[in-house]
Amino acid sequence: MSAPTPSLPASGAAPGRTIAAWWQALPLTAVFVLFFLIPLALVLMVSFWDYNQYEMLPDFTFKNYVAVFEGCLSGDDMCVTFKTYLSTFKFCLLVWFLTLVIGFAVSYFLAFHVKSNGVQVVLFVLCTIPFWTSNVIRMIAWVPLLGRNGLVNSMLVGVGAVDQPVEWLLFSNFSVVLAFVHLFTTFMIVPIFNSMMRIDRSLLEAAADSGATAWQTLWNVIVPLCRTGIIIGSIFVITIVMGDFVTIGVMGGQQIASVGKIIQVQTSYLQFPLAAANAVILLALVLMIIWALTRLVDIRKEL
């Protein structure tokens, strides 16, 4: 926690060792240069290119960006881009709030109420196992529950709560948010639990001795000390929802627009420069959100 860099202090680093270290880091570096940095640079470059029905045409034009924001500055109706971002932000905020509340409560229970170390590990692992299984499977798993003839509807009709099966359960905003929460609460639990486990237990005793109620301890001691975990989890959840097209596509019944889906659709029509412009705008927004969040915490210090 105190180390200024993620690396361990070099144990007796002899001169010349740096070079050996670089040979070791080289393959990993090469992968990120080839498949991350260069591709990002190309997205930026191509976003200024022109295109026709068949191919991309090298150029320097702002027409893709103009096309993205077409009609946004004039007229009373909101343009497609603003509407899409608004809908994406709405999902982001809802999913962030729900995953945070659930993730915090689950972590809090595990960290402070489960006394046995072994049980704690088992329950924590139980929460993380589904992370390693297919997202699509976990999405379509909701179909037999939420569908028109699904379990929930049969029950609702059975107890007489509704006359007709409820339609908005599946392929709706509701099912999209539900699936996001189902899929990604893990991303909140892991970092928050991790921060909670580092809290010195004597601080809690001190708070109790000073006469703090459970709520006061929670709000004034635990939450501030979990800030790092909360922010790391938030960054994961927000970046996932902002760029998602799979969950929104499958759970929204291909009806709900999202920025990620616009990019995907445009690439399927080979409109790569237009998709690239959208990607650059999305990236700029996501970076701004992350920047704002990291103002609140220095992640590297906390690793």
Binding site: A10, R17, P27, L28, F36, H113, A214, T239, V246, A279
Partner: protein
């Protein structure tokens, strides 16, 4: 422990936790159960009998999709990603223990890759390989290699662009695990080996590697399972043939029989088998370590 009074809030929170676990596993369990529908069964309850009918249907293929081939491709890619993730993460983990010039920048890039929206990475890699295609075609044209030009289609593929896309997703996890391992690693063992005259390679092979082996197996599991289920990063970077999850995503809109649940059950079983093997192997390795130390 039973005598000790539970803190206030224990039971409501325990109930909340149980509800969360049910929420987490319930739907998955439903899929598994429904995949054993009888031949007359549909996508929902009630069960119409009990059979492995839909698994047989799955083996025959779903529509135009060759499930077997997709499964084989995903397995091959997953194993390759696993091997590369282990080797590259361990190497880089070792590098970060020493003074690494630019190490902070590299770390920042790796973390950036982890939180970058996948569609952007995918689009970028797709663009990269398409531009590469254009370049290669131009070169072939310029050199007048007509026959090669005609047979050349694209550099996009499972073991080129898709492999790279998967590595940008698995390596950050691998590297972060390596940091966690080495943060808890006692360098005294290594120093002892060095004092006894071990070469750096001997020190790594006989001292460091056995100590970190159980966690390294975990990195392998991350590599395989993350690749096995990956969709978003592969979507624009795969080329002509699809991996299993991508086929599955396509099938969600077209297949209306429990076959799709059977497919879900199969992929889940593979994930769980890999996790089980990893845990088993990890336990075995640390047990061997302990018995050796005791001996």
């Amino acid at each position: 422990m039973a005598v000790e009074k539970r803190a206030s809030g224990f039971w409501p929170l325990a109930l909340f936790f149980a509800a969360y676990v049910l929420f987490l596993y319930g739907p998955m369990l439903v899929i598994v159960v429904l995949s054993f529908q009888g031949p007359q069964g549909g996508l929902t309850f009630p069960m119409q009998g009990f059979s492995t009918h839909w698994f047989h249907k799955l083996a025959e293929g779903l529509g135009v999709v060759d499930i077997g081939a997709a499964l084989y491709r995903s397995l091959g890619l997953g194993l390759t990603v696993m091997a590369l993730t282990v080797v590259l993460s361990v190497l880089a983990g070792l590098a970060f223990r020493k003074k690494l010039w630019g190490g902070n920048v590299l770390f920042f890039v790796v973390v950036a890759s982890l939180i970058m929206p996948s569609i952007i990475v995918s689009l970028g890699i797709g663009l990269e390989f398409r531009l590469l295609d254009t370049g290669i075609k131009k070169v072939l044209e310029a050199w007048g290699m007509e026959s090669l030009l005609e047979s050349y289609s694209t550099a996009l593929g499972i073991y080129t662009s898709a492999l790279g896309a998967h590595l940008t997703w698995t390596l950050p996890f691998g590297l972060l695990i390596m940091f966690a391992i080495f943060n808890r690693f006692n360098p005294a063992y290594e120093e002892a080996a060095r004092d006894l005259g071990a070469t750096p390679w001997q020190g790594f092979r006989h001292v460091v590697l056995p100590l970190i082996a159980p966690s390294v197996v975990g990195i392998g599991m991350f590599g395989f399972t993350l690749s096995w289920d990956e969709i978003a990063r592969t979507s624009q970077a795969i080329g002509d043939v699809n991996t299993l999850p991508l086929e599955l995503q396509g099938l969600t809109t077209t297949v209306t029989t429990p076959s799709i649940y059977a497919l879900g059950t199969v992929t889940m079983v593979v994930s769980f088998v890999v996790m089980g093997l990893t845990v088993g192997l990890g336990k075995l390795l640390s047990k061997r370590q302990k018995s050796r130390r005791a001996a």
